[in-house]
Structure formats: C-alpha cells, structure tokens
Symmetry: C2
Subunit: 647 residues, 2 copies
C-alpha cells in the first residue's frame, strides 16, 4: 500500500473566495455550512502534508467558522487557548497560502502568534492562559470606552489548570463583557446535545435568559407553601442543574449551554445572542468531538491529536524510521525497572502520560501512577506530600511546563529538602513546537536553588543510570534533563547503576584544549575534539553529568591543565556555564593561564525549526565549538598555523 | 501613656499542664473550653513580646484546640495553609517554652516548619499549598494501608489561588479520606452561623449525611407529579444550596457546614463525625473571625493581621521610628506621579495592596487599580492582556511570590515581548519571615529570559527614577527590584527621570580595585571602598543599575582598568554576577590581568534573622567585601603590607 503518495488538493470553491474573515461575513448562513465543510477538507489536506495537530482543529471547524462569521474580527478578539486547534483559524485569516508551511522552519507557527497575524491577539502554546488575557483585553476596552468583543476559547482539559480558575474567579467577580467558550470534547457522560438542549441554550442566551430566576420563583409559588425555603432556593437555581453550569454560575458567570459545536444552526443563533447581550461575563458550553468529520481520526483513540505526514484516504502516517529509542521511552522503561526494586517509587504526570513516558510505567504499575490533569503546581506539591511520607515520587514534567510549578519546586520541595525526583523531558531546543516549548531555562531556574541536585544525560545510556541515581538519591530533590527525540544509538545497559553525586567523567584525554559538556552536546564536543586534534590541538572532552553540585575537582583540573576551557550546554545563560565560571573565579582559577569560555543558547527566542539546524545557527555544534576555541586562542594561534579550520 | 511596659504573663493553669497534644486529650470537653481561653491569652501575651501575625492565630484558637483534641496528632497530620495562623498550634505542640522567640534570630519560625517539630508535617508560608500536600499524604497512607487522618486547614483567601483549585479538582475525582477545613473569616454576606446551622452541619457530618439525597427524593415524591425532572434534581441537590457548598460538591467533595468556628460545642462533634467517616474527601466549612477575642484586634480594620510588639491592655504597637520612607511607599507614591502624566498606567496586585504600595495608587486611581486575589499567575497574564491593548500595567508582586507566575512571565510576557512592568518588592533577604520570603532568585530566573530588562535600585531616589524608567519603557517587559524596609535616607527627587536603558554609573572613582554593585549593597560597597582606600587601595565603586541588559562598556572599563573587580548583589548565583562573568569571558577580559570575583548569596536557605545580621554572616557587608578583595589580591598583597585588615 503506497502510503506516501501526494494527495490532490480538495475542491474548495467557496473557501477560495475567502481571504480574510470579512469575506466570510458576506456569505449567507447556508453558504457558511459549505465553507465549514471545505475548511475541514483543507485542514486535513494541509496537515497531511505538514504533520502537526489535527484532532483539535477538526473539532472546532464549525466553531471557528461561526466565530468569524458572527464576530467582527480582528476588532473583536478571539483568543485560542493552547493554540494548537487554530489551524482552521489560520486558514480563514489570511494565512491559507502558507498553511502547508506549518511548523516547518521559516513557516507558520503551530500555535497562535501575535507577530504572525493581527487575527492572533494573544499567542499561546501552554494551556489555560486565554481567560486571563481576555479579561485584560476586556478591561482595557472598557477603560477605553470601546465596544468590541473579547472571546476566549478554552478546552475542558485546560479548565483543570489553576490559572483558568484564577481567571474565572476574578472575571466572575467583575462585570466586563467577556465571552468564554468552553470547548468541551471530553464529556465523560454522554453529552446532552441535540435539538432540545440547543433550544434551551438559545433561549438561555436570548432575551428571556435573565428572567429565568424569576420564572423559578413563580414556579415555586405555584407549588404552594408545603415546600420550604430550601426547595425555593433550589428551584431558583434549577436552570443551573438542567445544564450542569452551576459551578460556573457560582463563579459569577452567566452560563449558556451545552450546545452542539458541530451544528451551525445551533451555534450561529447562540453566538449572535451572546454577542448582543450587554452583560458579562458569559460562558458558552460547546460540545465538540475531537477529530470530527475525518474517519481515521474519529476511529483512533487519541483522535489523531498530533500526527506525522499522512495519507488522506487511509490516515496512515509516514513515520520516520527511528535509529534509537526515544529518551522518553528509555526513561519510562528505566523507571519500570527501578520500581521493581523499590515499591516506594511512584510516578506523577500532569496530563502528559504518553509525552513523558509515564504511560509505560502506568501499564505496569497503575496504582503507583498519578495523572493529576493539567495542574503542574499541584503535581509538584502533591509529590512533596508523598515524599514527606517516605515515598519516592518521580514528577515528570517537561522543562518548559515545569516553569508553571516553579514556586512549588522552590517553596514546597527545595526549601524543605524533600526528595522529589524531577525527570525533565524536552530539555533544550525542541523543533517544530518552537520557542514556547523550548526547554532553555531549567538549569538556570533550578540551579540557583539551594538543595537541588541537577543532572543532564549525554546519551540514552546515561539516562538509564540517572534514573537509577534519582531512585536512590533520597536526601533531597534531584532533577535530570534530557532532550526530545531519539537517543544517539548507544547500547543500553541491562540495569541502571547509580552515579556518584557531583562527579563528572573524562570521555577523551587531551592536553591543550578542554571541552566540558553538560547534556547531549557531548557528541558535538567529541566531533569538535576530532577536528581540533587533526589541527594539532590535543583536546580533552569531559561530560559534567551534574550541573549541581559541580564537580569542582574536574573543573579545577581542566582549568589548571589546559590552555582553553569551553563549557557547552543546551541551555540559557545563568546555568551550568555560569556555575563553572563562578566556581573558577572563586578559586582564582580565572586569574591564571586558562582561557575560559561558556557556550550557551543565545539571548533570543528561537522560532520553530529542526533542533540541529537551530543549534548550528547558535554555534552549538562541532563547527561552532571549534570556532569558539580558536576565538579563545586568539590571533597568535591562527598565526601559528592552527587556525586553518576557520577559513 | 507608657506603651512599652512589660505585661504580666496571663494565668494559664490548665494550659500549663499541656506539653504535647496528648496531654490535652486527657481533659474533659468542658476543660477544653478553658484551655482555649488560656491559649488565646497566651497567644496575645507572646505576640505582644515578639510581634508577628496575630489576627489569624486568634481566629483559630478554638479550631486549633478542637483539632488537637479530636485528632491523634502527630500521627494524624494537620497542615496549616500559609502557616502564619499556627502560633497557637505551636503553643500546644511542645514549643510553648520558645514561643516568645517567634521570628527572632535563632528562635521559632513564624510559620510551620518540618525541621522544627514533628507536629508540622508540612512547612508553609506561601499560601494554598495545603490541599496538594495533604492529598499526597493521604495517598501515601492508603498505599501503605495506614489509618491516620490528614487535615488541611485553608483560608477562604487562599482558596482563590489556582493551586488550591487544582488540588480540589484532583482530590474530588479520587476517594482518599482527606479532610479540608475551609477557615472562612471573610464572608461577604453575614455568615449563617448559629445553633440551627450548626445542627444541620452536625447532622450532615453524622450518620444521616449520606442519606440526605434519598430524603430529597422522598420529598420530591411527596410533592407529586406536577413538578418535573428539573425540580426533582434540584431538590436532590438541595442540601448544597442550604449550605452554599454546591461548588465544592461539584468538585467532588462531601461538604459540611458552615459551622461556628468559635463554638466548641459545634466544632467538637462535627470534627468527631468527620474523623469517623469512612469516605472522602470532605470539606468542612468553618466560619471564624480574625482577631477574635481580643478587643483591639476586633476593633481594627485589618484585625491586627501583623503587628509590632504591643501593649496587651491597649493594643498600642511599639513601632520603631523610621529614618526614611519605605521602598514600598516610595514606589507607590512614584507610581501615582507617573500615572498623572500617563493615563495608560494601571496597577495590579495579587491580594497585597498594602504590602506592595498599590494601596497608595488605589486611593488616587481606584478605577485603574486591580486586586485579582491570591492569583499571581492570573495577575501576570491579565497584565499581558492589558499590555496588548496599549495599557502600561505595573504588576506588583513580591520577588518570592513572582515565582508563582514564572511560566506566565516567560510564556505570556517575555516571549511575546509585551511591556508589562514588574515592580519587585522584598528583593534580597527579608528578615523575620525567613527563607520562604527571601527574594533571592529573581535576577537569576528573570535574567535568563530573552527580552527582559531588569533594574535594581541602590537607594530610594534610584527607585523613583526606575519607576519613571519603567513607565516610559514600552518596547518590552521590564522589572525593577528593591528591598523590604526603609530607604537609606537620601533626598527624594521631585520627579523621576527615566534612566538610559542598560547604563550604570560610576559612584566613586578609583584606580586599583573596582566594586560593581547591583542594588542596595551599594552603601556597603562605598564603606568598603573607604576602608580599602585607607589601606592604600584606591577603589572605584559603580552602581550597575541594570542586571540586564548589562552595561558592557562599564564592565569592560572596570575590568580593563583595575587589578580586581568584585561584583556584589543581594541575590543567588546565576544572576548579575554570572552575567558579568559571562560577558567578560566572551570578550576575553578574564584572560588578562584583572581578577574578577562574584559575591552572591550563599547556596543555603537562611533562617529568619535581621537582614543586616544575615548579610554580615554571608560576607555581603563592607567587611566581607574588603576580605574578598584581599583574597583576590592574594598573599603577595598581604605581604606588601596592604593586608592589615585581615588580621
Ligand atoms: Mg478536551
Ligand atoms: Mg480569610
């Protein structure tokens, strides 16, 4: 079966007439339905070429179309929470011509992005930010005396994050006209969609809405004096129960819904009513299906949440053949092995079981696995609570999402010196997800904390040992970072062996140049050492293994015994390189003959592209490392004839 | 009126017999009431001597007593959220003999602390962590097959934080026996306390509890077939409405309350019922009054939340005479002045209007002031939303609490380069509040972020200029940090003048030694320069003003023209000193004659004590700076006769 054939573009006669949303608004409601169908076909076609997030976008085809039809974008602000469902939005908002560049280097971002379009009033990628941002925009509008609308579209999963609650809690106590659309694609009970409930919702969003409580009072009266105040109040709130929106109402929102998010006959009138209401905030509960309208997505368990390039007819994805297991998988399998030896080991994930490899652990140890939802703050302090009782929690959170739990790491874990283990996946640059997902800062923001131990794996075998190290390190918190993607292909040890805390290793002995690597740049350091050696510069390569505590003996020896010492890492300033510089300065080792340089990620946010391309651009590859060594050696070295490589 | 007289200790015959909670549990319920009275008197007496948090502790006197009477502490875990209400708890749990050392150097912490007592199963100080920690403990207990209880006591204010919601959301979907006590001392409506509601609560917590829904069904039946399914369901949920707990019930908690938290006749039976229930999680809604039982507290608007030493009879506080306005006040007043010139300036606080000085702004510009509650994450992204619409938000959050919003600073502000202003109060060491409140890490965790600009004020006049600088800096985010407490007493400029971005200043010209200060250590640097000068070491002192962007010209000049360059800051490794070292290394300026040293806070959490005492202990005072200079100069300098000071 040929899975790689290029599919024809779908026929999209109406969509072809839409360059910006204003074009859409010229059409009749009947035509809008056809636009939605064409938009779905175009989305599938585009993602089949680029790969990316598919299921979420397909779930909001009708909602996207309806929003741009009913609201006056870009004057009205639509904020897509997370933003990975915004491909159809991009197609409708002037970016269709570039939609097949999604997530490619130089192409469209896989998320909303302010710099990309005036139709993206707020960039996203991490979840649960939209209500806060939207409330800020609504307040600004009212301070300005403006009349535009602000609409935040947020998923049910994103609602589990504390940030969304904080925003609801604040918005509900205020009176700005803010529209929150709860895009609910995960109702555990069969969703009460259909004509009747859509009718109720339309009623609720229309003029009769505000009178429902009065109706409740009337109803109570007619039931007579036998029912007490309890029942009276209950009935007054009855609408909330019909619709399940009581929680939102108690948080101060007007609740509308649930309505069928794939039925434009329901969506359009409700959104119009909501638009024309002169009160707020309003929450519209829209029920959708992830992957809607594309058979292969609807039939797959994950609704084709994120895909590689695929064949449109069959849904078969074109997955690149892996040369080595992913770090994620190595972590998950190693943790399973450690857990077999120690029943106190438990695993925690914040709604990312497969992304973190915790799903591998869960299959073997379901009772020792905890998925707390999109709730990184809670995840970390929950782990801290487990640690106080003698458990050994592995709290697996991506580098960039650990930022969400920074205070919990500081206040609940590090200050109390509790042995929570932090496996940090997606350390360093991540590729197609871009700047929002780059794990650039963890060594800096964790390394400044007393009591923290921080490791970085140079390859997948090292990761196995680091999992074992973390398992036995019970005297305080310990983190270990590793990149997205597959390992370098080294043999995996049968069993992890705990490393000596704070000890690095010499990987290659040399005499004149020293390269001190933290993490998977080690391979590039070794290549650079080859190149330097070929040019007559004998080069030592060391793997620090630990960013903290620093291997002072190793660092001292490297500085004392070499002319040049270069640190290399996949992280920002303020991390490993800074710790080395500080340690050397403290010991007077910067005052001598050794020239020390620190290579870190540049002080800019890097757009999405292949990690290797980005690292090369940053000079964090063998070529860049060699260049840095020559820069440190200076003109004399070049004159001495060892600078040939620079030419 | 003599306000400083030493008050006599209260007579506490029963309390005197209680050394640990087990002693309390030997008493009769009648005696427990007297214990509570004596505990209140002892708390007031102790805080009158030490100062500290008073109102919160007085509000939980009966609750504290009841919890230790009903539960088997320390086997049962009581987690006090925030922990500033835990003084009475400390008195009952073996720490009464040290209670008059609260918050003094070497004395008891003003918060709960694991290292202080086995009765403190989880340390606190930042709010809203208790439910997460408690759920971790409850899960650990169940994994172990244990039978102990876990009780988290959390205030209504702390419930506004997303973290508490994340924990509720997770706990409510699980079935561990976890008891959350909502200590509600801020009901906007008159609290429905009293015998009747306590009776209902006791009922609800007793054996009949689980049958209430059945009763609802019976009731509905008896009303006949005229009422539809809507009303039936409403009545089934009626108990929630009686008590206002529907929100908690929708989050999966069994809700009990509200009950009068000062009436032991209500508290004891309810807590016993809750203790003996074999299901969970349960939320007990307890209504209390902050400052209860102490006239001067009850009569004060802030209920004597935090006090200096005071006279027990009159409540008059002994406040040290200030020599200069506090940085907080200077910030608030400067912002008012800037706001008069620019109507786009708005101020945001996360439930700390007076702590941050935003209350000063609010008095003049109430419509431009936003208190979002304990919700730092939302505060920052709300500010980002305002910034997208052209507003100039000053989002005033303490250094340590800004950790709560780190991802929002990265993802919503810095990546999008939105001009949110971050006034960072409580930068550096803070004194009596200890390690949890120390603002040690902000330069490190913000300085690694591209697009950030970071200033630190050397004195209160500098702060005025930095507020002006932030007001006009509209091209990206900008932060400025300043310490807790009063300024150094310099004259304040009539008007703030924007500083040149990324430019420091030479404060004193010298030739051999250079001291480069960031922040208020500048005064100690100047003292050190005097001492060094007296010893024949001509010393330049510079104020960097900016941690980022770094004044490369200044740093280069200092390194090139001096034998020794020492950076000094009130922050951790990975911050300003690291940026200087990195910049110098990059430019080859560490390879030459200048010896560079970086003085930062040590890699330990420092217990509470006076900031100046702590800084001296860390070597971050004039004496320590001089010592560091001599250490850098080395033995030769000492031999040359300039090392006299070291002796
Ligand atoms: Mg969902
Ligand atoms: Mg309160």
């Amino acid at each position: 079966m040929p899975v790689t054939r290029v599919t024809d573009r779908p026929a999209t006669p109406l969509l072809d007439t839409i360059h910006i949303p204003a074009d859409l608004r010229k059409l009749s409601e009947h035509q809008v339905k056809q636009v939605a169908e064409e938009l779905r076909a175009e989305t599938i076609s585009a993602v089949s070429v680029t790969g990316g997030h598919l299921g979420a976008g397909l779930g909001v085809i009708e909602l996207t179309t309806a929003l741009h039809y009913v609201f006056d974008t870009p004057a009205d602000r639509i904020i897509w929470d997370v933003g990975h469902q915004a491909y159809p939005h991009k197609i409708l908002t002037g970016r269709r011509d570039r939609i097949r560049t999604l997530r490619q280097g130089g192409g469209l971002s896989g998320f909303t992005k302010r710099s990309e379009s005036e139709y993206d009033p707020f960039g996203a990628a991490h979840s649960s930010t939209s209500i806060s941002a939207g409330l800020g925009m609504a307040v600004a509008r009212d301070l300005d005396g403006g009349r535009n609308h602000v609409i935040a579209v947020i998923g049910d999963g994103a609602m589990s994050a504390g940030m969304a609650y904080e925003a609801m809690n604040n918005a509900g106590a205020r009176h700005e006209r803010l529209i929150v659309i709860l895009n609910d694609n995960d109702m555990s009970i069969a969703p009460p969609v259909g004509a009747m409930s859509a009718y109720l919702a339309r009623l609720a969003s229309g003029k009769t809405y505000l009178k429902l409580r009065d109706i409740g009072k009337q109803l109570t009266k007619s039931l007579g004096p036998t029912i007490d105040r309890t029942v009276t109040r209950a009935v007054e709130h009855a609408r909330g129960f019909v619709t399940g929106g009581t929680l939102f109402e108690e948080l101060g929102f007007y609740y509308v819904g649930p309505i069928d998010g794939h039925n434009l006959d329901h969506l359009l009138p409700v959104l119009k009513n909501v638009r024309d209401a002169d009160f707020g905030p309003i929450l519209v509960h829209v029920v959708t299906q992830k992957g809607k309208g594309y058979g292969p997505a609807e039939e797959t368990e994950d609704k084709l949440h994120a895909v590689a390039k695929f064949d449109v007819v069959t849904g078969t994805q074109v997955k690149a053949k892996a040369n080595a297991p992913s770090y994620t998988k190595v972590f998950g399998e190693s943790l399973v092995k450690e857990a077999a030896k120690d029943e106190k080991i438990v695993a925690i994930t914040a709604a990312m079981p497969s992304g973190t490899g915790v799903d591998i652990f869960e299959k073997v140890y379901p009772a020792r696995t905890f998925d707390v939802g999109i709730a990184e703050q809670h995840a970390v302090t929950f782990a801290a609570g487990l640690a106080t009782e003698g458990y050994k929690p592995f709290c697996a959170i991506y580098s960039t999402f650990l930022q969400r739990a920074y205070d919990q790491v500081v206040h609940d874990v590090a200050i109390q010196n509790l042995p929570v283990r932090f496996p940090i996946d997606r350390a360093g640059l991540v590729g197609a997800d871009g700047a929002t997902h780059a794990g650039s800062f963890d060594v800096a923001f964790l390394g400044c904390l007393p009591n923290m131990t921080i490791m970085a794996a140079a390859d997948e075998a090292e990761l196995v040992h680091m999992v074992a190290t973390a398992a036995v390190h019970d005297s305080g918190p310990i983190a270990f970072r590793y990149p997205r993607g597959e390992g370098v292909g080294v043999d995996l040890p049968a069993e992890g062996v705990p490393l000596a805390i704070g000890k690095g290793r010499i990987v290659r002995e040399g005499s004149r140049i020293a390269l001190l690597s933290l993490g998977t740049r080690l391979a590039e350091c070794l290549k650079a050492a080859e190149d330097l050696g070929a040019l007559g510069l004998s080069t030592t390569v060391a793997d620090a293994r630990f960013a903290k505590p620093l291997d002072i003996d190793l660092v001292t020896r490297l500085a004392r015994e070499h002319e040049v010492l270069v640190t290399v890492e996949e992280g920002s300033i303020g991390g490993f390189g800074s710790f080395v510089l500080h340690a050397l300065a403290d010991r007077g080792l910067l005052d001598g003959a050794c020239r020390v340089r620190s290579m870190v990620l540049p002080d800019v946010y890097l757009d999405h592209d292949k990690p290797e391309a980005l690292y090369a651009r940053c000079g964090l590859d063998a070529r860049g490392i060699v260049a840095k060594v020559f820069e440190a050696l200076g003109r004399e070295a070049v004159r001495a004839g060892t600078g040939a490589l620079r030419a």
